[in-house]
């Protein structure tokens, strides 16, 4: 640079600065520029002190811990967050972006399978300077989404890689989810997912998730809001309750006499007590569900040509909705109307289960087998018989619940039975035990002066447990005193 006057130098400098500013502005993606300010007003932090429930010793209060997550402001002065952030919470606080004041909140509604919860705040000051989110559409493959996460609610961009139906541990069932390239993990605990400034989903925790991220899509969130409108209690999203087999092989199609131009899957099992119970039959060919044609692999094609498993369609309905099916029965085309019911399962899991059912007599602790109980110890330490029931067990008219003798609180009366643990109870005093409340009546009617418990556990611990019925009452009292147990049974059995 030669022979430039001071003024020229000044102008050149100014020009360079302006140029740099322009380049900087252009290099920042538009979402950062356009929407960050708004979204900050919609995203809040959620602090929860949780009290865990002890499903192994249900009379005890579980340990306390704290959870940090986030949520977003909804129209109507409510907060949307993940249910697992707040369900066990006995104290919930909210904090706005860039503020330090915390506001106390409480759970209004929670959807255990969608893992969604709605909070309310009594101090209306909280909503000052907040902006409720707008609901967007389900993003499609290749769309960019942004997620807030971490300590300072930092923003991260991600790309939607597709829609899939996966097993979700917290829901204990299959769910349709959006997948992203990189993981949206615990750090994004409840932090809403946006696209083009609108809410398009909530992060979802999927067990065994690799490097992918999972998002609960906005249309499911919409269904959840529909389910709970007017303060209706949430009962979970519906399920058809059928097993199906693909109809790809030509010889198989021939066997079932399915014309070449017809598609569908064959119903191989109808579950007891399910939506389809009494309406569909084994051997029916399911051809369409709610207007969507089902192909030979059990997939439906959605708008924007996303091909997904037909399971994807259940959560878009509420329990009580009536869906129309086209089926092929004995070669005849038929229409069937099915009122949708909740999932029927033998070993249920409820994230919001805060009061485990239990009954203790003479040191023997009984509880129903639930998904929650499986979280008391590591999965691999459960006998395969119990794990199999959880994964594959189906309810039947004979078995509505699996009643477990979980362990024995030692006392003179139960000497010799100390090793019994996690055994399935078949009968008590000759009475078949279908569910927990059968126990109470059965123990009221001893066989002579003995209480006889038949358990099904030949390979490990044995078959028969006998105790002195006359001493049982006193022993129960002594055990309650020794082990500091306030009640011999849970509230629901009283």
């Amino acid at each position: 640079m030669k022979n430039l006057s001071l003024k020229q130098k000044f102008l050149l400098g100014l020009g360079l600065i302006f140029l740099a500013y322009l380049i900087l502005m252009l290099s920042i993606p538009s979402w950062r520029w356009g929407h960050t300010k708004d979204l900050k007003k919609s995203v809040v932090k959620v602090f929860t002190t949780t009290q865990n429930v002890d499903f192994f010793e249900p009379w005890k209060a579980g340990s306390q811990s704290s959870v940090e997550g986030c949520g977003c402001v909804l129209p109507g002065k409510k907060i949307l967050t993940l249910a697992h952030n707040v369900n066990k919470g006995n104290f919930i606080e909210l904090e706005k972006f860039g503020e330090t004041k915390r506001y106390v909140a409480k759970v209004e509604q929670s959807g255990f399978d969608m893992d969604l919860a709605i909070l309310s705040v009594s101090d209306q000051d909280f909503f000052k300077d907040t902006e409720p989110v707008d609901f967007g559409d389900v993003p499609t493959k290749g769309d960019k989404v942004i997620v807030h996460g971490g300590e300072e609610l930092a923003v991260k961009e991600d790309t939607v890689s597709g829609l899939d139906v996966v097993w979700v541990w917290d829901a204990a069932r299959y769910m349709p989810v959006l997948m992203t390239d990189s993981s949206i993990d615990a750090k994004n605990n409840g932090c809403p997912v946006f696209s083009r400034g609108k809410l398009v989903g909530m992060p979802l925790s999927v067990s065994g998730s690799d490097k992918k991220g999972y998002i609960l899509p906005i249309n499911l969130i919409r269904t959840f809001f529909k389910d709970i409108q007017d303060g209706k209690p949430y009962v979970g999203f519906p399920d058809m309750g059928v097993f199906t087999q693909d109809l790809v092989n030509p010889t198989l199609r021939d066997f079932y006499k399915i014309p070449a131009d017809q598609t569908g899957v064959i119903v191989s099992k109808v579950l007891y007590g399910s939506s389809a119970d009494g309406l569909l039959k084994e051997g029916d060919v399911l051809q369409s569900f709610d207007g969507y044609a089902v192909d030979n692999e059990g997939y439906v094609t959605q708008q924007k040509s996303e091909r997904v498993n037909w399971y994807y369609l259940f959560p878009l309905h509420a329990v009580g909705d009536v869906v129309s099916l086209d089926i092929l029965r004995d070669g005849q085309k038929m229409k069937v109307k099915v009122p949708l019911k909740p999932l029927s399962c033998l070993v249920p899991y409820r994230e919001d289960n805060r009061h485990p059912t239990y009954y203790m007599v003479a040191g023997f602790v009984f509880t129903p087998l639930t998904g929650n109980y499986f979280q008391t110890v590591e999965w691999k330490y459960f006998k395969p018989e119990l794990r199999d029931l959880y994964v594959h067990g189906l309810p039947s008219p004979e078995t509505k619940q699996v009643v477990l003798l979980t362990h024995v609180l030692p006392h003179e009366i139960n000497k010799g039975y100390e090793r019994l643990n996690n055994v399935i109870v078949k009968k008590v005093n000759g009475k078949t035990i279908h569910e927990m409340k059968d126990l109470i009546d059965a123990f009221d009617h001893p066989m002579g002066n003995m209480d006889v418990i038949d358990v099904d556990d030949l390979a490990y611990f044995g078959s028969t447990v006998v105790i002195d019925a006359q001493k049982a009452k006193q022993a129960t009292d002594e055990i309650m005193a020794n082990f500091k147990i306030l009640s011999d049974r849970s509230q629901d059995l009283k």
């Binding site: 097993w167 541990w169 092989n249 099992k269 594959h392 009366i413 003995m450 028969t464």
Partner: protein, 503 residues
């Protein structure tokens, strides 16, 4: 529906002992150097084995070779005693006597997988020159001092370690998962010691064979005691080995007073409850469910399932079986509906729904139109990564007339004929073929002979007990089967044991 559960603090831990027991052969090569003037050394042999294990997932294939080494000792009559697991699935064995440099080729004469013992012979008589056979001692007592001889990991030379007898008990033998008498010692026993002799006062009192994984326990090595060895030698003297018999019953202890009273036992009676009897076992049609076993082979059974052993010692009631042969009769005293009865029981082997681990046999398989069928065995289960709980449940189940084996559709070799099935059906249980119930592998052969209406109908059962149908075009079967075998380079459509069975 597959998923894994998140981990939480563990409260109930049911540890299976067998999982942590490690077999002690060792994979090294090298030569030992002559040493010392201890006469016991003249009984020592180092054994080198080349093994070839079968592949249970693709049973027409054989896995790659592995080399292992172990220890052994000279028996009277120019024989060598070692562990079965040192020479199982062997294709070539060499032996090297202590102080020598020449390896001799050996042959396996007899093998007893259940009690993990084997006897080898060497064709060249020169091998036995300068060797000295061992003399047997008896069963040691606790705190007796013993010396373990062998060639464990850590060097090439003979190693001698010393310790005391710390326990004598029925334990699971890791090689077979059978429960048999074993002696535990705190003398160091390490990989390579397997098959080596253990001496007490110059007499052999056992064969070192297994130890604990060091993460679980230290200084716990096990030896096969003389009574088990003598039974083995007695059996093979008759020309063939027959395994230790089983009673074939489930049992539970009777330590609770109320339970004993409920079963009608008097104050002075002790015993154990038999809630279930295994199909076609020794006790089948002899004992009944809910009999109380009061005594076995003349020994009164305690409420905890033990019988008197030596003075001041007790042992598991199964111990007498370790000394008997198949076909022997032993007396039992039982309490049935309040009446004491004396019965005779003829001893047999158990029939298992899912056979225990097996060696030296080729896996059973049958391939039809690309569908690979195989029985569920422990060997097969070990090839399955993270087996589903419904498989593990089968391990505890017992066979019946209607179900002698669990016949699996292991996987499908893809071809036009089985289009659309390959993805959905792996490791599923086969229930019927062409309407014929499949109770064991050989039923498949006859069933595929009888297509229904020009089709083969295979009914498979999901873990939820839901039946799916796999339908195949019978007219295209022959050609498709041939093409599939050729394409996958499979020499035979079935294992040798299924040839000539039917079909």
């Amino acid at each position: 529906m597959k998923f894994s559960c998140s981990s939480h603090s563990s409260r109930v831990r049911v540890l299976s002992l067998g999982v942590f027991v490690v077999l002690l052969h060792f994979s090294i090569t090298g030569t030992a150097i002559a040493a010392g003037n201890d006469s016991l050394k003249k009984s020592l042999v180092k054994i080198f084995t080349t093994m070839q294990n079968p592949n249970y997932y693709e049973p027409w294939r054989i896995d790659s070779q592995i080399s292992v080494s172990g220890s052994g000792c000279i028996l009277p009559g120019h024989r060598i005693l070692t562990n079965a697991h040192v020479v199982s699935n062997q294709i070539f064995i060499q032996v090297l006597k202590e102080g020598d440099t020449k390896k001799y080729t050996a042959k396996r004469e007899f093998v007893a997988h259940d009690c993990d013992l084997a006897v080898l012979s060497v064709d060249d008589p020169a091998f036995f020159k300068g060797t000295k056979p061992v003399t047997f001692g008896g069963l040691p007592y606790l705190k007796d001092s013993v010396q373990v001889y062998g060639y464990p990991v850590g060097g090439e030379d003979l190693s001698i370690t010393e310790g005391v007898v710390s326990r004598i008990e029925i334990v699971p033998y890791a090689h077979s998962m059978r429960n048999l008498l074993a002696v535990q010692t705190d003398a160091a026993i390490n990989p390579g010691n397997s098959g080596g002799p253990v001496f007490m006062k110059k007499k052999m009192v056992g064969v070192a064979f297994q130890g604990y994984n060091a993460i679980v326990a230290q200084n716990t090595g096990f030896l096969i005691p003389v009574p088990i060895i003598k039974r083995f030698l007695k059996e093979i003297k008759a020309g063939a080995y027959h395994s230790v018999p089983s009673l074939g019953l489930f049992w539970e202890d009777l330590e609770n007073d109320d339970l004993r009273a409920y079963l009608g036992m008097k104050q002075d009676q002790t015993g154990i409850l038999v809630p279930k009897i295994l199909w076609q076992s020794s006790a089948w049609n002899v004992l009944q469910p809910n009999d109380v076993l009061l005594s076995i082979d003349g020994f009164p059974v305690g409420n905890d399932g033990t019988i008197p052993f030596r003075k001041g010692e007790r042992v598991h009631f199964r111990y007498p079986l370790c000394l008997h042969g198949l076909g022997d009769s032993i007396p039992l005293k039982i309490l049935r509906q309040g009446q004491v009865q004396t019965l005779k029981i003829t001893l047999k082997e158990d029939v298992r729904l899912v056979p225990d681990i097996e060696y030296d046999v080729a896996p059973t398989y049958f391939i039809f139109d690309g569908l690979v069928f195989t029985p569920l065995t422990m060997n097969y289960l070990r090839t399955v990564k993270d087996p589903a709980p419904d498989f593990l449940v089968l391990l505890n189940q017992t066979p019946t007339e209607d179900r002698k084996q669990v016949v699996l559709l292991s996987h499908i070799l893809n071809h036009e004929i089985n289009k659309g099935y390959g993805h959905d059906y792996t490791n599923v249980v086969v229930r019927k073929v062409n309407g014929i119930p499949i109770t064991e592998m050989k039923d498949l052969l006859a069933a595929f002979e009888k297509p229904v209406g020009g089709r083969h109908i295979v009914e498979v059962e999901s873990p939820e007990n839901v039946i799916d149908h796999i339908i195949l075009d019978a007219n295209k079967s022959k050609q498709a089967s041939d093409e599939i075998l050729k394409l996958n380079e499979i020499p035979e459509d079935r294992s040798a044991d299924l040839k000539g069975a039917s079909h």
